[in-house]
Amino acid sequence: MKILPSLFLVFLFTTTVHAQEKVKTKYLRPSLTRMFAKPTSSYETVILDKFKELPFNNKVDNHNVDLNYVDYPALPVRPSGELTVDQYNYYKKQLEQVQNLRTNNLNQQLNITSREVMAKWWSRDANGNFNISLVEERGAKTIDDNTARVNKASATNRIDMTGLQLISKSYTVFYDITNVETMEQYYNRRDAEQREYARKNNKEFKPMNRISEGYRTNFKVTLYQLDFNDSIANHFYENYWSSAEDLNSTNIAQWNTATFPMKLVMSQTFITSSTQSKELKYGRKTMTQLLEAMPQKMEEQVMSYLSKKIDEFKVKAAVYTTEPLTSKIGTKEGVKLDQLYYIYEIKIDRKGNQKKTRKGAARVTEVANNQGVATGNSNTSTLQQRGGSKMYSGMLLEHQEDKGLEFGIQYFPLTSNRSGVNSVHLTAAYRLGNFVNTHSWLGIVGFGISAKNDINTGSIGYVAYGNEDVAATSMYALLAKEIFFNSRGTVYARPAIGLGLNNLDFSEEDDDAISAYSIPIETALIANITPNVAFQCNLATRILTAYYTDEDKVTQDGVFYDSGWGFKRVGKLNLAAGVSLGLTVRL
């Protein structure tokens, strides 16, 4: 194909390394190939069989090829206890032999994989001829609107150029499952370890709480990247290229021994579990179903890790408009509601080096369906800014993996009733967008406490009389929604409602404690200081039922004292309100 040499020439230019540092601003869709170590147990066989059907994450291209498992024997375990010199040397020799075998087998398989990956890119047919159809297809899928518009005004095809760049974004992920155990096996192992530890250290042994059933796996992932630089590209064209229009039988014959370098990118161990509570009544899965769910969880964990650590797996795009904040990304890039993006401005210093400076953060509130080829008029996804500077079109938007967790501490200097709204609250919130297709909703659990010695309680049933030491605690769960007033989102409101349980304890003895149910209704005003830290002012109210002992409603006799703790109405429906100041930290 005559067009190919000129395409390669243009490609060589675009991959030239510039001396000055530049910020990466383009998201070129990586492609992924899966490779596995040979299974050594029936559990592993089930997991690897299920992996074959597992679809790839939306933001990468499926580049799976037909591969054998890698013969990757387990490393010998060092015998426990003191070893003699001979025993130690024997162990070391065994270890070295197995390590060498693993390395050789893995390298052999990587050579085969590199050839198969290239064959797939260039759509090698049964006659050994290549064509650029997949390169064109993937290039077309990857280009953004800007490139599509420039392409229309250009006499050369920029889509093919983009496709060529994608070849160097080919990654092979090698899964080595080191251990799969049931939860019972896991609990037995941990109990044995804890029992031995307790015996050696003369401590009390506490067995594990066996609440879950299912499976747990340890696995290691090693990531390799196909090195398709200019000299490799030249080598491929000169020594292996053949096409229906330009047949080269020598090159076709040479293909069987072709190998292409694969760079080691990273290696990481993971622990994943697929479990359910033993008490679960509805939606209960079988043990087989739990095991078959493992590959999905493993790959989600790996993709989340890669998105955090490897720049090329982070979705990047330009801010398109600012009122509202939009960007031309969507389902094609795996964008989901409530995902977090940081917004950067690129600065250039006197030497011409570029550096990015964070200017704000935003979460996705609307996802565009942008599947298909960009035409220059793609739909946009909408985001809500959450504090930071004024945004401008052209700023860099970059996806950030986050856990969706927030932890808060609040102090209530003002409260009408310290048993209703306690003095100090600790909260943990989780973004519900991680579970359901929604944005700006959170589930919050909280714990409050107030305590004071020597308070006049009046006469409360048989549990309190006169001056008592009082401890009031509460536990509650809330459903909260974030509401923004403007596009910049520096300050926003978060109303919440839920259910709770309040306790009053008048002494150290348990049977003097009384409880009431509560309906917490709160509105927080939150000011973002940074994407991870916010200042919070909260108006909290509680509707409390009458307090109860284990059996009876509490009654009050004689003289009534409120003491700022609501003791006057412990036997009746009560209201409490308070205002807090606090801090929230986001992970």
Partner: protein, 174 residues
């Protein structure tokens, strides 16, 4: 009209004047930069028949002003400066050979590059005004360098300049 209302209207008018003036100042600075050739042009790709596809880098404290100025800078560069080629894309010489041509034909060029001038007929921004992140760079504390890809209809521009007697036609030597 009571005195309070008059005072409010006066303050409002003064503020409007200040805002308009601030924007005009940035625009005048951008025009001065163009005259002093403070912009850069780089080849992007071979344009479709009769056009050049180039990226123009303009400077301003306001990125929006830089985007606006890109069209003018593109035409100014094509006419007086030319640009260097890149791999796969050939460079082009300036349409007007003489470096003193602007002064020699000052009346024409002041009108051509003036507000609402004819230069706008020959240039279009290809990316709909949407700037890519790599084309929006902050230099120093306040200034921005903005890259905009434009398509210049060189064949029509050449005809326009020939008709105005600024450049000789290709067949004028015969």
């Amino acid at each position: 009209m009571n005195i309070g209302l008059k005072f409010t209207l006066l303050i409002f008018a003064m503020q409007l004047l200040m805002v308009t003036n601030a924007f005009s100042q940035k625009k005048r600075k951008a025009d001065k930069d163009t005259e002093q050739w403070r912009y850069e042009i780089e080849a992007v790709a071979t344009g479709v028949q009769g056009t050049y596809l180039i990226k123009v880098w303009s400077y301003s404290k306001d990125p929006n002003v830089a985007i606006e100025q890109a069209k003018k800078n593109a035409l100014h560069g094509i006419v007086f400066r030319g640009f260097v080629g890149t791999e796969g894309v050939s460079g082009k010489k300036a349409l007007v050979a003489s470096p003193t041509a602007y002064d020699e034909h000052k009346t024409f060029f002041d009108s051509f590059f003036g507000k609402g001038g004819d230069y706008m007929k020959f240039v279009t921004i290809t990316n709909d005004g949407a700037v890519a992140p790599e084309d929006r760079l902050k230099i120093g504390r306040k200034e921005y360098k903005i890259g905009v890809i434009v398509s210049v209809n060189v064949s029509e521009l050449r005809k326009h300049l020939e008709k105005a007697g600024i450049i000789k036609g290709l067949s004028d030597g015969f």
